[in-house]
């Protein structure tokens, strides 16, 4: 019995999203559907007569066909022998699911450049929520065109459909309709002409709908809501609600990846670092492109060199601040590689960044000072990359009366309030140097004349490093001004401790 109902009954009162639309922006979903992805993933030319097969219970069946092959009468789910009988020149390959996943993954990384909310709709589609990106890309129509252009350049067959719900955009895209519906009001009429068998539902349910005499979605719109639920189950009603946005349809966004890893094989084993550097440069280009897509930066990266005979070696390049400046990273890698002796020819280079940090661009100052500061830091990093991590230091103060403990190597500046009152030398000997005595006077490249002093320093008894010394300023015949002390704990031995340079 065919179900007929007056069209006025098919809209339940109060469900149309009218009021809230003004408060919260409606989402806009773009479905990127790749109808020939299986062909492209196998390396087949989707414009030629070709097909991809898969193994089923009934032997090898056609999984996907190119448009040219379809014109020759080859259909999906046809047996391979039948297809070859129809078209002897058919190029066919078995389906490669892993390659399809890789292609979809790389397309996903590419589409992250347009919006952060991207989800996969396997096996052949991506869903992009683009409402927040529309202003940047000059509106939905411009973005629609741009996505199409870039996909064409990458060589993918595609259908791009835009709709206020994810399910509707996916349905339109998979039906090959490159429509763009921005408002929810136009959704019902746009979907109305689509045939029922395109719906992403159980084939048995589709067959039941077909037998009932329903051919297009418009036929379904005319049915009463409770009638559909009673007759075909809640699943269908739920699906239709998600299609029209009456029911929420959350999609899992693919999260920002946590690490980057890429390998570059050298064309021939290289013994000189310049050819290794060429590979590093290509890897860095990949890394920076990747960091731009996920809006990240790195503060350390590991380079692994695989040799022909020797075991692989690795080195880590660190920066003071997180960066994604390819030129700067290349300079650091250059310095590290130059200091490295290659034990054997290098076969391949692998770059691993385990820690992707969020990118925080430096604060923009009104004048150019900030930029200078940054490039000074980069210069210091460059020196550190060549000389080692602890080759740079800044002299700092410590509160201690013992001269050898009153300074420290640190990165923080000192405060000038804790300075000793007496004169101090600009050079300090890292370890006091014992002086010989001649004619009862200390001697250092000549007899020393004591000009100033003594300054008694007697402290540190509480931590075991106690000292009891008399410090003098002394001069020798060459005009050197020295800081010497007499250690009263060691029978008055004389020591040289500093130079007034």
């Amino acid at each position: 019995m065919p179900l007929t109902a007056p069209s006025s009954l098919n809209v339940p009162a109060g469900v149309e999203p009218n009021g809230p639309a003004n408060e919260r922006p409606q989402p806009l979903w773009f479905a990127l559907v790749f109808p020939s992805l299986a062909l492209e993933a196998c390396g087949l030319d989707a414009c030629s007569i070709c097909a991809v097969t898969h193994e089923t219970r009934h032997g090898q069946r056609i999984y996907q066909v190119s448009a040219a092959a379809r014109r020759r009468g080859i259909e999906v789910q046809m047996g391979l022998t039948a297809a070859l009988a129809l078209c002897p020149g058919l190029v066919h390959a078995p389906r490669d699911e892993a390659s399809e996943k890789r292609h979809l993954r790389s397309l996903l990384n590419w589409s992250k450049g347009f919006t952060p909310t991207v989800s996969q709709a396997p096996p052949d589609a991506l869903l992009l929520e683009v409402r927040a990106s529309l202003r940047l890309f000059h509106g939905a129509a411009a973005l629609h065109q741009r996505l199409g252009r870039e996909l064409e350049r990458q060589g993918y067959h595609h259908h791009i459909a835009g709709a206020p719900t994810a399910q509707a955009s996916l349905l339109l895209g998979r039906s090959g309709q490159a429509l763009l519906i921005e408002q929810p009001d136009g959704l019902r009429s746009a979907l109305g002409d689509l045939p029922i068998d395109r719906l992403d539902l159980d084939p048995r349910l589709l067959w039941r709908l077909h037998r009932t005499g329903l051919r297009s979605l418009r036929d379904l719109w005319r049915l009463p809501r409770d009638g559909i639920s009673r007759r075909f189950g809640h699943g269908l009603q739920h699906y239709l609600d998600r299609l029209l946005g009456k029911h929420p349809d959350p999609r899992a966004t693919v999260p920002r990846p946590r690490c980057f890893s890429a390998t570059q094989e050298l064309p021939a084993p290289a013994v000189d670092s310049t050819r290794v550097l060429a590979a590093v440069r290509r890897l860095l280009t990949q890394l920076v492109g990747y960091l731009r897509q996920c809006d990240g930066a790195v503060s350390s990266l590991r380079l692994e060199l695989a040799y022909t005979r020797n075991p692989a070696s690795s080195m880590t390049v660190c920066t003071r601040d997180a960066t994604r400046d390819a030129e700067h990273l290349l300079r650091l890698c250059t310095e590290r590689l130059r200091s490295l002796q290659l034990p054997a020819p290098v076969e391949k280079v692998c770059m691993v960044c385990a820690d992707i940090l969020p990118h925080t661009p430096p604060d923009q100052h009104l004048f150019e000072r900030a930029h200078c500061q940054e490039s000074w830091q980069q210069r210091l990093e460059e020196i550190e990359a060549r000389l080692g991590p602890d080759c740079l230091w800044q002299p700092g103060l410590r509160s201690d009366h013992r001269p050898e403990q009153a300074w420290a190597e640190l990165a923080q500046p000192w405060s000038a309030k804790e300075l000793p009152a007496a004169k101090r030398p600009l050079w300090l000997l890292a370890r006091p140097q014992q002086l010989v005595c001649r004619q009862g006077q200390p001697w250092h490249r000549g007899l020393l004349a004591l000009c100033d002093g003594p300054e008694r320093i007697e402290t540190g008894w509480w931590d075991g490093g106690g000292c009891r010394r008399d410090y003098y300023v002394a001069c020798n015949e060459q005009g050197e001004q020295l800081w010497v002390f007499q250690d009263l704990q060691r029978c008055g031995t004389w020591y040289l401790h500093g130079l007034f340079a």
Binding site: R369, C372, Q373, S375, W376, R379, L380, E382, I383, R386, L387, G388, C391, L392, W393, Q394, P395, G396, L397, P403, A406, W407, A408, P413, W414, A416, L419, P420, R424, P425, L426, W427, L428, L429, A430, R445, G446, A449, C451, C475, N476, E477, Q478, G479, E480, Q481, L482, G498, L499, F500, A501
Partner: protein
């Protein structure tokens, strides 16, 4: 009247052109050394920016740092960084603080190999953010002196190579060379110009340090 203006244009175009006695230092950017007598001797009235200066000292600690403290202080206060490469002793923080040098501007580099000392000096001199580089290189060649000079010109900074050497002949490839010594204990610091770009003076000077 035409001839002098053509000469002026030439002099403006090439500031490094030798001008003969009494005419030197017309357009050379310089930073005051902090000592009036020395400023009068140096072309442009101070340490010239974009050059390297070789200091021959009779021994460490005769006053070479006190001679250079004013120029370092002056450039540090204008926001440029100071770097010391391979100092022979520990720069003593309490004494540095007492001289009034802004400590956050001072960076000390300790390279291991002699080659790395010259390399670090060159890298630092090239940076426009670096004002003064003090280096204690172990061995210098004509080529390394020339490279340091070009780096200083690129960064408009002053590089001081401090070498303990009693030899009176200036190193080849440097633009300016000074000799420092004291004649006897407690005596004044003597300074002799061995070589100077843009001037043919060979003066001797007594500094009260």
């Amino acid at each position: 009247m035409n001839k002098p203006s053509a000469l002026d244009a030439l002099l403006r175009q090439y500031p490094g052109l030798w001008r003969g006695k009494g005419l030197e230092g017309a357009a050379c950017a310089a930073v005051s050394s902090g000592f009036e007598d020395l400023d009068a001797l140096l072309p442009g009235g101070g340490w010239p920016l974009g050059t390297t200066v070789e200091l021959r000292i009779a021994g460490e600690g005769i006053g070479e740092l006190r001679l250079l403290m004013p120029v370092m202080r002056r450039l540090a206060s204008s926001g440029r960084h100071i770097a010391w490469v391979a100092p022979p002793y520990v720069p003593y923080a309490p004494a540095l603080a007492a001289t009034g040098l802004d400590p956050s501007t001072l960076t000390v580099v300790r390279p291991q190999a002699p080659r790395d000392i010259l390399w670090s000096m060159e890298k630092l001199l090239q940076s426009p953010q670096c004002g003064v580089v003090l280096g204690w290189p172990q061995q210098v060649t004509v080529g390394s002196n020339r490279r340091l000079q070009l780096a200083a010109e690129a960064g408009n900074s002053i590089g001081f190579s401090i070498r303990r050497n009693p030899c009176h002949a200036p190193g080849r490839g440097t633009t300016t060379a000074l000799q420092l010594w004291r004649q006897h204990d407690h005596g004044p610091l003597w300074l002799r110009v061995l070589k100077m770009r843009g001037a043919c003076r060979r003066g001797e000077l007594m500094l009260a340090l």
